[in-house]
């Protein structure tokens, strides 16, 4: 069973201008994220890569088609079960890291586990372990406003890994980073797939990073084609 499977996904948006109706962003897309493999989606800006990733993670709904997470169709679940599925099986890394600004790095990392109802002590131990592993031991008690771009992105990665999800969805994880930090984050994500057997679905502009993944897809003219 694939951790995430997209079947005949079409996404249309209603345009703001009157009379123009709807525009199609994604058309009849099928994609399977294979366990223990990394998959990259490349394409021009505005081609719908991020939208596809959001649909894969249940953050957005498709106009047509269905998304299966561990064989369960997202659209058949109520909000509580869909949230629980997202919480336990999917880890998100956003382009702009999207950390909770009132919480320290440690609390941000602990958040998904606390939401899942795990014990605080257990959550803290795991969060400290992750932050240490990603070299943030001395930044644990800093709020996001006091962290650099690279540090924030590493905190976001720790947060994505907190509940040991089967699949990590990353939207331009290195987009806002300098070359050195970007290289570190790329290596970290690929190591996670290789060492821990997780799946990675990645959206990026960075061709080098994309071609280091096991599978590469190009999104062009609303259609997804396999490149590698």
């Amino acid at each position: 069973m694939q951790p995430i499977e997209l079947i005949s996904i079409t996404k249309r948006f209603r345009t703001a201008e009157k009379g123009e109706g709807e525009i199609t962003i994604l058309s009849n897309i099928d994609l399977g994220v294979v366990q223990g493999q990394s998959t990259a989606i490349i394409g021009k800006s505005g081609s719908g890569k991020s939208t596809l990733l959001h649909i894969a993670g249940g953050l957005d709904s498709p106009s047509e088609g269905k998304v299966l997470c561990n064989g369960t169709d997202f659209s058949t679940l109520d909000d509580r079960h869909r949230s629980a599925l997202r919480n336990l099986h999917i880890g998100f890394i956003f382009q702009s890291n999207l950390l909770l600004e009132d919480f320290t790095a440690l609390e941000n990392v602990m958040a998904p586990a606390l939401i899942a109802g795990k014990k605080e002590k257990e959550c803290k131990d795991r969060a400290v372990e992750l932050l240490n592993r990603l070299g943030l031991a001395d930044r644990m008690n800093h709020i996001p406003g006091k962290l650099s771009g690279g540090e924030k992105q590493r905190v976001a990665i720790c947060r994505a890994l907190m509940n040991s999800p089967e699949v990590i969805l990353a939207d331009e994880p290195t987009g806002a980073l300098d070359e050195e930090n970007a290289g570190e984050v790329e290596q970290l994500l690929l190591d996670l797939v290789r060492e821990e057997g997780r799946s990675l679905l990645l959206v990026t502009h960075n061709q080098d990073f994309a071609y280091r993944c096991d599978n590469v897809y190009l999104l062009k003219n609303h259609v997804l084609t396999k490149e590698k």
């Binding site: 509580r80 336990l88 009132d102 919480f103 958040a111 939401i115 899942a116």
Partner: protein
């Protein structure tokens, strides 16, 4: 626990001026609550003073007409403060010097009722003595209107039961034994007092009634009286003062309408500020949902945030409101002295001493109402924001 902690953190978050907004809302709730409580207490105080005087002087708590009951029987009923027999009749005062006349109600009490706690709160003998009831005790306002003096003899025409006719006029010249004043000007200008034996000697004692001051439960006392004499006719103070009581109740209703407008202002304030609090944090709410919080959990966090602010505002409002209510007379005196020092004229504020009072039930009612409003507006705001897709909220958030 995570939700509780997050709600508290969001309520007083330092980011995006959230803390300042929260404090402004909190102060707004507190001020609104203070205004509601003080206005309510002042109006209650004025009305209670009016009703207390009605019950102390005009109608007592109960008036009993019974052929068999004596005041002693009633006095020993549980919940009765005091009971005494009294007579009441209308008469015509004629001042021969000024050739003026005035109708007056003459009351006569059997016993030392003038010394009773309830009566003495509203009634004071200014000249003469209440123990000397050889003549008639008039009010100061009657004295001023009729031009009568202490120990003058005034001609009074009573209507007494006749031997052949039902009632016949009976005129007597009775001395003025003193003057009284009461807190009810209408009562003072229409009433005079005389000795019970003397009045019953003129008009007979068939119409005598028993006046009762009640400290306990009115219903229980009435039941106990009816148990002693099932044929007793009992009039409550509300029935006796039906017209005035209805007017006071109308005034109270209008006061609540006025307070409802204040509630409305608080509503608008709450609605706007809740919306601002939510829009400050809508992106974070969507992020929490992306991390796996259900819509219900996120709503609960924002409800918690609103309620934290509301509860602190209410606690502050109740404490300050109670302090203000307890010191309202001092505050009015202070305002009066400030106005006097500026304008050289006294205001009406210091002339009307009263006890502002508000019951805990009323405070609780107001607090619960504001609490529910806060809950409702936050819930509506949450519904509006989180009806959209998560990414839609994140990408379109104002912040």
């Amino acid at each position: 626990m995570f939700g509780f902690r997050t709600a508290f953190r969001y309520a007083f978050s330092k980011t995006r001026g959230q803390r300042v907004t929260s404090i402004m809302i909190l102060v707004g709730i507190a001020i609104g609550l203070i205004a509601l409580l003080v206005i309510s207490a002042v109006m209650n105080g004025l009305q209670n003073a009016q009703m207390d005087q009605l019950r102390n002087l005009e109608s007592f708590d109960l008036i009993i007409k019974s052929d068999t009951l004596q005041s002693e029987h009633v006095r020993y009923i549980y919940g009765v403060d005091d009971a005494f027999r009294f007579l009441e009749t209308n008469a015509l005062l004629v001042d021969e010097t000024s050739e003026t006349s005035q109708s007056i109600r003459i009351r006569a009490f059997d016993g030392d009722i003038y010394d009773s706690k309830r009566m003495s709160q509203s009634f004071t003998v200014i000249s003469g003595s209440k123990d000397d009831m050889s003549g008639v005790l008039y009010s100061y306002s009657t004295r001023n209107r009729m031009g009568i003096r202490y120990e003058d003899s005034i001609k009074i025409t009573f209507l007494k039961p006749g031997k052949t006719a039902t009632i016949v006029p009976y005129t007597a010249k009775l001395p003025v034994s003193g003057f009284f004043s009461s807190k009810m000007s209408e009562f003072s200008s229409s009433t005079a007092f005389m000795d019970y034996e003397k009045l019953s000697g003129i008009i007979g004692s068939e119409d005598s009634k028993i006046a009762v001051y009640v400290s306990g439960n009115m219903k229980t006392v009435i039941q106990s009286i009816l148990a002693l004499d099932p044929n007793a006719q009992i009039i409550t103070w509300q029935e006796y003062n039906k017209a005035l009581y209805s007017a006071l109740m109308l005034e109270k209703t209008l006061m609540y309408v006025f307070l409802a407008f204040m509630f409305l202002i608080i509503c608008v304030n709450l609605k706007n500020s809740t919306r601002r609090l939510l829009s400050n944090k809508q992106k974070e709410g969507a992020m929490l949902r992306a991390l796996g919080c259900s819509r219900k959990k996120v709503n609960a966090i924002f409800l918690g945030q609103g309620l934290f602010i509301c509860i602190i505002g209410e606690i502050l409002g109740v404490i300050l409101g109670k302090i203000l209510i307890a010191n309202i007379q001092n505050i009015l005196d202070f305002v009066d002295s400030v106005v006097f020092s500026i304008s050289g004229q006294k205001t009406v504020l210091a002339l009307i001493p009263f006890n502002a009072s508000i019951g805990n039930v009323e405070i609780l009612f107001v607090c619960i109402f504001i609490f529910l409003l806060s809950l409702m507006f936050t819930a509506i705001g949450c519904r509006k924001i989180y009806r959209s897709e998560i990414m839609e909220v994140i990408l379109n958030a104002t912040y």
